[in-house]
């Protein structure tokens, strides 16, 4: 091997090490901690508006009384934060940055300084978003989908500054992830370890790259759309104003053309992390690597042709609604395929139920519920009844919660030893797992019933709609809110575990899980430059329990 890294030859100040670092692992940590802080804010918002729904008009502890405008702003920004500032930065940016160079066996991203720039733009976008809560009129309150005219004209949204800051923050965030995505794709295409062929790349890396490509190709029209919306808000153009020669449906198409692939942008990395964990903890080769890959391509392509199922009642052409119903139902095929592959991988393996494995299995179970309820919404007929009810809300929380929370926890519990060099506590991990999963189901299963009972998802309180309130449903709302409180409380063991294990956890060593992929060749935590000697790759990533071998794993870099 001729390649050697130059680690540790230079002095590092606090600023150059933690704030202006170009090291991919430090940038990943920056993304992850920013994402965690934003998750706390988003969770707090959920707490406030759920309390308002359970106890309308009463004072919410740590907030005060919730006004109608505030309620809308809370709901809007809960959605925005959880998708754009939690799921995206943690799943794509944090895991992508951390894993890509380690798992493909190189020392850093191909453009370390662009990587740093991407984080800095992301940080600015987060600050702009937080600033928007404090301006006159309050934060943007036109829902995270920002349909005009509610979003484009201050006389409807009543948040003249909040909506402008909101769209600015979102646009900046897109720029950050475009830069990051180009970096990811280029790194994986060009900088793989010698010997690593296309089908030797771990699935999670494939997933992150495909997600980055999906993001890049779908976000373009929305960037143009965001500029148009910004001009509608500030200059007074009429791109989305039907009375002056524009069309609000245009925004809906531009938004959902991005918005639906976005679901798969965050889903795929989560599935990737789950696949890694499933293979390692059932000590078995991934069932049908290539099939997983091809179904991922199919998912990616199909995800561009389903967007209008969000608009069935927006007055779109009913013939197109037929087409989009078909494509929407079609896309469940590749996803189901992935579920079967994972089940087939589990079959006959020697399963170890460590915390990451529990989360990975829970991901499958919960996402399955999200997927199956999606069938009802994808069919344009039943969507007419269910649209904008709590059923929709419960459905997409059953997809996004597994992705953005359970998937993230899978990844964190699994790669924590590599990030910080120590193991997390198993007991606290399992406590956190059961508390999270049970309370999560207790929140959202009741909401399915509320939705089927016709409850509209954007009603602040029922004082003005006593006929709709349904006395007998109030208990269900209270139950869901209590379950949310339990869910939030059960994150405390995780936070304790996360920070205490950094100091007091068992020292992990290089390869605590006995996994094959290249990141476990590096020291834990990996130093600057990652590897002492750049690894070479001799085989695929999932050679577990190979017959005739004494060891039940066979690292990718081991010759022979």
């Amino acid at each position: 091997m001729s390649e050697h890294t130059d680690n540790g030859h230079h002095e590092e100040t606090f600023l150059s090490k933690y704030v202006f670092s170009t090291d991919h692992k430090m940038i990943a940590m920056q993304y992850m901690f920013t994402g965690m802080i934003m998750a706390i804010i988003g969770g707090y918002f959920a707490y406030v508006f759920r309390m308002q729904l359970a106890h309308p008009g009463e004072i919410v502890p740590f907030f005060g009384t919730v006004g109608p405008g505030q309620y809308n702003a809370l709901v809007t920004n809960h959605g925005t934060i959880m998708i754009f500032w939690v799921a995206m930065p943690v799943l794509i940016a944090a895991f992508g940055n951390f894993l890509i160079p380690l798992m493909i066996g190189c020392d850093d991203m191909v453009f370390p300084r662009i990587n740093r720039l991407s984080y800095q733009i992301f940080l600015i976008s987060a600050i702009v978003l937080i600033a928007s809560f404090f301006v006159q009129g309050g934060g943007f309150s036109g829902a995270w989908t920002a349909y005009p005219p509610l979003s484009s004209q201050a006389k409807y949204s009543l948040t003249p500054l909040g909506s402008t800051l909101w769209i600015t923050a979102v646009a900046l965030e897109f720029v950050a992830f475009l830069l990051g995505g180009i970096n990811f794709i280029t790194t994986v295409m060009n900088s793989r370890a010698p010997g690593m062929k296309m089908f030797d790349i771990p699935i999670v890396i494939w997933m992150i790259v495909i997600a980055s490509i999906l993001f890049m190709l779908s976000v373009g029209p929305l960037i143009a759309g965001a500029v148009m919306l910004l001009f509608d808000q500030t200059v007074g153009t009429a791109f989305y104003d039907p009375t002056r020669g524009g069309d609000p449906i245009l925004w809906q198409h531009l938004f959902w053309f991005f918005g639906h692939p976005e679901v798969y942008v965050v889903l795929l990395p989560a599935v990737g992390a789950v696949v890694e964990v499933i293979c390692v903890f059932s000590r078995k080769k991934l069932f049908a690597y290539k099939i997983v890959l091809y179904t991922t391509f199919a998912t990616g392509i199909l995800s561009f042709f389903v967007w209008a199922h969000h608009q069935f009642i927006a007055g779109i052409d009913p013939r197109m609604a037929n087409v989009f119903t078909v494509t929407t139902l079609l896309i469940s095929v590749p996803i189901a395929e992935m579920c079967f592959v994972i089940i087939a991988t589990l079959y006959g393996g020697s399963i170890r139920l460590k915390t990451p494995m529990l989360f990975a299995l829970a991901f499958m179970a919960e996402f399955l519920i999200g997927g199956v309820t999606g069938i009802y919404l994808g069919a344009s007929g039943s969507d007419i009844y269910l649209h904008d009810t709590y059923f929709v809300l419960a459905h997409f929380h059953y997809t996004f919660f597994p992705i953005a929370i359970i998937g993230v926890f899978t990844g964190i519990y699994y790669w924590y030893p590599k990030m910080f060099g120590r193991m997390m506590n198993e007991f606290l991990g399992k406590l956190h797992f059961w508390g999270t999963i049970i309370s999560f189901n207790c929140i959202f299963i009741p909401l399915f019933f509320l939705g089927l009972a016709g409850q509209h998802r954007r009603i602040y309180n029922y004082n003005n709609f006593p006929d709709l309130s349904g006395e007998h449903l109030q208990d269900t709302r209270v139950f869901a809110t209590r379950a949310l409180l339990v869910l939030l409380l059960f994150q405390i063991p995780f936070i304790i575990n996360f920070f205490m294990s950094m100091k007091f956890g068992k020292v992990a060593g290089k390869n605590p899980w006995k996994a094959n992929t290249l990141e476990w060749v590096a020291d834990s935590p990996a130093p600057h430059g990652n590897f002492e000697e750049m690894p070479e790759v001799y085989r695929g990533p999932y050679e577990y329990s190979v017959p005739g071998r004494e060891d039940d794993h066979w690292p990718q870099n081991e010759p022979g």
């Binding site: 991203m109 453009f111 370390p112 060009n190 793989r192 373009g220 029209p221 200059v235 020669g245 524009g246």
Partner: protein
């Protein structure tokens, strides 16, 4: 940073140099940004065929004509700069890059005069959705021109010092893309005016 490029940057599993590969992806992402904008424009253009055709008749074809020629010529200069850089003729590369920047500057001046003229005749960004699209699309394109000129300015000095010569090609690719966008903007905004 004190140390040089990471090993990652020097590898090339695809056979395409890393910088160039990234530029191709940048252009792919730009295609969909401009694509989204122009698709929106085209949809409404077809809907308001007569009204927008009448509005488009007020664009200044002569300005568009001059700008097209200027941009095509600047594209020639940057490709010649790339050619010179490939043969390590740093002086010539530097000169051609600055010819290209001058082309961009002329483009912006003509554009500025044109906009000034149009705005003073009442065709502002809020006059009608055609004009909104006109200003947003040309403005977005203009921002790309400005960005390209700034980057070219930086690269020209690196090239003169004989450093990072491959970057001349990268900025060239980007500049040609900006040119191609204009090639489509011109018929869309100026020529289709009836």
């Amino acid at each position: 940073m004190a140390h040089g490029k990471p090993i990652a940057t020097t590898r090339s599993a695809t056979g395409i140099p890393t910088g160039k590969l990234a530029v191709w992806w940048v252009i792919a992402s730009e295609i969909v940004i401009f694509g989204g904008l122009l698709v929106s424009y085209l949809l409404l253009r077809v809907r308001y065929w007569d009204e927008w055709g009448e509005a488009a008749a007020h664009t200044n074809v002569w300005c568009g004509l001059i700008n097209t020629i200027v941009l095509l010529t600047s594209s020639l200069f940057i490709v010649l700069a790339h050619h010179a850089a490939e043969h390590n003729d740093t002086k010539k590369a530097f000169r051609y890059i600055w010819y290209t920047i001058a082309g961009g500057a002329i483009f912006l001046c003509v554009k500025g005069w044109e906009w000034n003229n149009e705005i003073s005749h009442g065709y502002t960004i809020t006059a009608n959705t055609f004009w909104s699209f006109y200003y947003v699309a040309c403005g977005l394109h203009g921002l790309h021109v400005i960005g390209g000129m700034v980057i070219m300015g930086i690269i020209s000095f690196q090239a003169r010092a004989g450093k990072e010569l491959h970057r001349v090609e990268l900025i060239g690719i980007y500049w040609h893309f900006v040119d191609v966008v204009w090639i489509f903007l011109f018929p869309l905004m100026y020529l289709a005016n009836q």
